[in-house]
Structures are given as structure tokens and as C-alpha cells.
Amino acid sequence: MVVATPERAFDAFITRFRSTVGCVAEAGAFGDGREVGGVQSVVLTPRGFEAGDPAPLRSRSGQRDLQLRVAFQYTIVAVPGDREERYRVTPLAYWYGILDGEGREILLFHWHPAGVSNVLTPHLHIPGAASVALGTRSGKGNGKRSVHLGRMHVPTGYVSLEDVVELLIVEFEVQPRHPDWLAVITANRAASESIRAR
């Protein structure tokens, strides 16, 4: 979404961010600035917890055995227009974590192209995955080689917050907090994709 001021661009972005998170968690989200060109972050503020803590999620069976931890980096860029500059929020990095109720990592979607890792493209960690001993087609070989899924950076495309929330509802059976969650997710995903397509 390209709008007339950086403040309006950020407000539209954070409103979408909050409504997406709100589909599964009682949590707010706050940025650290609305300056054009700066590297800035968003942090979740789960109700009843400290800012930056994971947000507890409720399953359809009523258990609170999952949590969502999110950090997101963005910048606000000026977009030259016919008459005046306009502004939009552009993602720079994300860290989405699906944790169990005790904080153990289940799935982690990371993208930190300017980060300290040597993996700069979007990827998935599955920390709890067991190693897989590899068989061979002929049945021969020493049979000792394994792949360690828990240590892999599994490539993904860009994963939006909407993708993660939909995954939580559909696959992890998290109870949506609103009956219209899919409409919210769909609209916010479309807005997110339109920004990244520019």
C-alpha cells in the first residue's frame, strides 16, 4: 500500500500486522519508529506478558500448548510519484517461531538477508526433527550416513505472517479468535504481496 505520508504507511502496516496476529493471539504489536529509510523492528506484546515474549495460543481442544514468537524488521521507503513522493513499508527480515507451551522450538521461519548467518534466503528450521538414517537403493553400503533435519536450513520462499497464522489454524489446530479469520488473512496477505511485488 502506497500512501501520502510515512506515518500513514506505517499505521496501515501495523494495523494489518495486528489484525493478522489477532486471528490467533491476544497480542498487540509495536514498532520502534516511522522514519523513512531507517532499519526498524516490530515486537509482539502478548496480553499479560512482557513485550517480546511469545504469545500463548489456544487449541481447538482448549489447550494452551503452543506459542507464537515474532520479530520483524521493516523500512519505510519513498516511492516517486507523478506529483509528490509517496511511502510504503518494506520488509527487511523476519523471525517467526512456533513453540510448544514450554517454549521448545517446533518450527522456525527465518529470513535475515543482512544478518549474521551465512544463509541469507528465507528458510525453515525444524529443531525437534529426528535424524534420518539413509538406506541405499542397492541395500549395500555401510548404512551409517544420516541426514540431520534438525540442523538444516530448509529453503522456503518468502513466508508472510499470514502464512504462519494460517498454518497455525489449519495444521496446528489453533482456535481462531474470529470467525472471519480467513477473510482477514486473505486481505492482509494480498496487501503484503502487493508491497513485495513492487
Binding site: 506505517f10 499505521d11 501495523i14 495486528r18 489477532g22 491476544e26 497480542a27 498487540g28 509495536f30 514498532g31 520502534d32 519508529g33 516511522r34 531507517g38 532499519v39 526498524q40 523492528s41 515486537v43 506484546t45 502478548p46 496480553r47 499479560g48 506478558f49 512482557e50 513485550a51 517480546g52 515474549d53 514468537r69 520479530a71 520483524f72 524488521q73 527480515a93 523476519y94 523471525w95 517461531g97 522450538e105 522456525l108 527465518h110 535475515h112 544478518g115 549474521v116 548467518s117 551465512n118 544463509v119 528450521h125 529443531p127 540442523r151 536450513h153
Partner: protein, 75 residues
């Protein structure tokens, strides 16, 4: 939307003020890695967490790295 402590509230309902952002970052660094936010940033800037994603601590460092702009603000 979750309530935040009154001390963190600002006139802007979408942006944490600098003091609240710094306090959040410091608290999370202490909770996740057992060090202050400033110490974490020094280690991060010195390259201490390069390619450390294979451990929970390394992944926690990546989380803090994404939040680092909160910790770099002037109070």
C-alpha cells in the same frame, strides 16, 4: 490489542517510545541469553553469532538481532 504497562504507553499507540523499547530489548537479552542488551549488541557487532543458528542459543541471538533496532535507540 494487548495492554502494555502504563509506563510504556506513549502518545503514539503504534510505536514504543525509546525507553520502553530499550527496556524490552534488555529484558529479552537477559531472559534469552543471560546478558544485557548492550552486551548482546557488542557481541553481535563483533561477529560472535556468525553462523550459530544450529543451537537454540544461536536462534535466540537471531531473534534478538531482528529486534536490535529497539536496543540501538537513544534513550
Amino acid at each position: 490489542m494487548a495492554a502494555i504497562p502504563r509506563a510504556q504507553q506513549t502518545e503514539d499507540p503504534t510505536v514504543l517510545d525509546a525507553a520502553a523499547g530499550l527496556a524490552m530489548f534488555d529484558r529479552q537479552a537477559r531472559r534469552l541469553l543471560g546478558m544485557s542488551g548492550d552486551e548482546f549488541l557488542s557481541r553481535l557487532d563483533a561477529g560472535a553469532y556468525r553462523d550459530e543458528e544450529d543451537s537454540p542459543e544461536g536462534r535466540a541471538a537471531m531473534y534478538l538481532a531482528v529486534l536490535a533496532p529497539f536496543g540501538r535507540r537513544d534513550p
